[in-house]
């Protein structure tokens, strides 16, 4: 066996790593530029409200349903676990913690990534391949300011609100299941939850939500703006945007949890 065939897999691994790092660098530059545009006029207020409507308001049903069923399933699992050493009374508090600190933001973020990242990437990608982005530029409108900044800002502000609402609905899911199936007293369940939760339990989840919102919008815009030509190009951009957003959400979730844990 010659040395070339031995190093070939290594070389392709190296190329893939370099490619990934270059892509991460381009993405970081894109995000940095989007943030810097946030502070420089002109500001497109109408675009911002439109983005809030799309990203926040219209995502409510999806996020609410996800939270409801997750909360209920979580309460059931925690009951199953805690019953093994007769600690069923922890169900309300652990359900609340699990929901507020972890599952609310993560599942909410992933659902928004599925719904919003894909639609942003497909919309901007289509605009790119039909020369609408070029047309914006020739009409003295910076696509970064007109398309990216409003979506980025709206997602960063709206997703924490969605997460907060999801938290409440998720806890309600647990409560419904706990009172109807597991024999908990309704007032006690809610009182235990309320007394147990600390400010930072909820706060850390909301911070995660803001980070996920930022990721969701930036990935959609970045992949859309860099879409290749044709319908296939838009399809590929959309797929990459959703995958990248989901992976980034899970990674950042771990890093933030670690940071909050040690703080």
């Amino acid at each position: 066996m010659n040395s070339a065939s031995l190093t070939a897999p290594l070389a392709s691994l190296g190329r893939a790593t370099l490619g990934l790092m270059a892509a991460a660098g381009r993405l970081a530059m894109f995000a940095g530029s989007a943030i810097s545009h946030l502070f420089r006029p002109p500001f497109y207020i109408a675009e911002f409200w439109r983005a809030c409507l799309n990203i926040g308001w219209l995502s409510l049903p999806v996020v609410g349903l996800t939270a409801l069923f997750t909360g209920a399933a979580l309460a059931l699992q925690i009951y199953a676990g805690s019953a093994r050493f007769s600690a069923e009374q922890v169900v309300p508090s652990i359900t609340a913690i699990g929901m507020v600190r972890e599952l609310g933001p993560v599942l909410g973020g992933l659902m928004v990534a599925a719904r919003v990242t894909s639609s942003i990437a497909a919309e901007i990608g289509t605009m790119k391949v039909t020369e609408q982005i070029d047309a914006l530029t020739t009409l003295s409108t910076d696509p970064m300011k007109y398309l990216t900044v409003p979506r980025m800002l709206a997602a960063t502000l709206c997703v924490p609100v969605l997460v907060g609402i999801g938290d409440i609905i998720g806890i309600m899911g647990g409560w419904m299941l706990g009172t109807s199936r597991l024999g908990f007293n309704s007032t006690t369940y809610l009182k235990v939850t309320w007394d147990f939760l600390q400010f930072w339990d909820v706060g850390s989840g909301l911070v995660k939500g803001a980070a996920f919102g930022f990721i969701v919008a930036i990935m959609g815009c970045y992949y859309g703006m860099n879409s290749q030509r044709g319908a296939q190009g838009v399809g590929r951009a959309t797929k990459s945007a959703v995958v990248a957003a989901s992976v980034a959400i899970l990674t950042v979730n771990y890093l933030l949890t670690e940071a909050f844990f040690s703080a």
Partner: protein, 248 residues
């Protein structure tokens, strides 16, 4: 005056522009002709900075277009894209008035709408299309909305990328006349890309033909029919035989 000097541009291994030299005089109508896929649209996009050339220089009134204030520079231009490039999330009138609703040329909404409806009328579209969305229009109608958008802010320099393709002969005539009017009455500088020889004769003060990545021939419209250049002769008479290969 726009001066293009030794402009080159490749996409991957494909050399599209191989040293284009062209002078576009102010207040005149220049028409660019040439085979499909020879880089005419790319040339216009290079001037506007939408495509970054690999080499060469473009100046507007003696100033390098890549330097200086982008926004002020682009405010002088209007562009009709080959595919229309209308914003499909906005109704027709907001497409046309896009520039008049934001930025340095912003004005009250109803005034902008009035101007938009007037420009739509000039491209042969009634006020009833103003509130439709681009997706509800036919291809030719979309093209004309794109045209109305290009001229909405009365720019000094206007690029038309195939303004009459997809239009019926009467409407094509109306558009040719409109372009002519914009140049002679408003003193605008126009660059038009077209494959339609009737349009060339109706619009052009000067004609430039692009072939194999370079300007093959350039001159006043009056010389178009008399030039002995075999490339021009083959092109304007639409002959299959000649120096221009048909397999491209």
């Amino acid at each position: 005056m726009i001066e293009i000097c030794a402009l080159t541009k490749s996409f991957g291994p494909k050399q599209v522009l191989r040293g284009v030299d062209l002078v576009v005089p102010s207040g005149k109508s220049t028409v660019i002709i040439g085979g499909s896929g020879t880089g005419k649209s790319v040339l216009l996009k290079c001037i506007l900075g939408l495509v970054h050339p690999d080499g060469g220089k473009i100046t507007l009134d003696g100033q390098d277009v890549t330097k200086g204030e982008r926004e002020a520079f682009l405010t002088r231009f209007g562009m009709l894209f080959q595919g229309g490039a209308l914003f499909d999330s906005l109704p027709v009138w907001q497409n046309v008035a896009f520039r008049l609703l934001r930025g340095s040329l912003a004005r009250p909404k109803d005034e902008a709408r009035e101007i938009a409806i007037e420009k739509l009328r000039r491209v042969g579209l009634g006020a009833d299309v103003a509130d439709l969305f681009p997706a509800e229009l036919s291809g030719g109608m979309q093209k004309r909305v794109g045209l109305a958008r290009a001229i909405a802010a009365d720019p000094e320099i206007i690029f038309f990328d195939e303004p009459t393709t997809g239009l019926d002969p009467i409407m094509a005539g109306v558009i040719n006349e409109l372009i002519r009017e914009i140049v002679t009455e408003m003193g605008a500088t126009a660059i038009t890309i077209t494959h339609d020889m009737t349009s060339v004769r109706a619009i052009a003060d000067r004609v430039a033909m692009i072939h194999a990545g370079k300007i093959r021939w350039e001159g006043p419209i009056a010389e178009l029919d008399t030039t002995p250049d075999p490339y021009i002769q083959q092109f304007i008479h639409g002959r299959a035989e000649g120096p221009i290969e048909t397999l491209r």
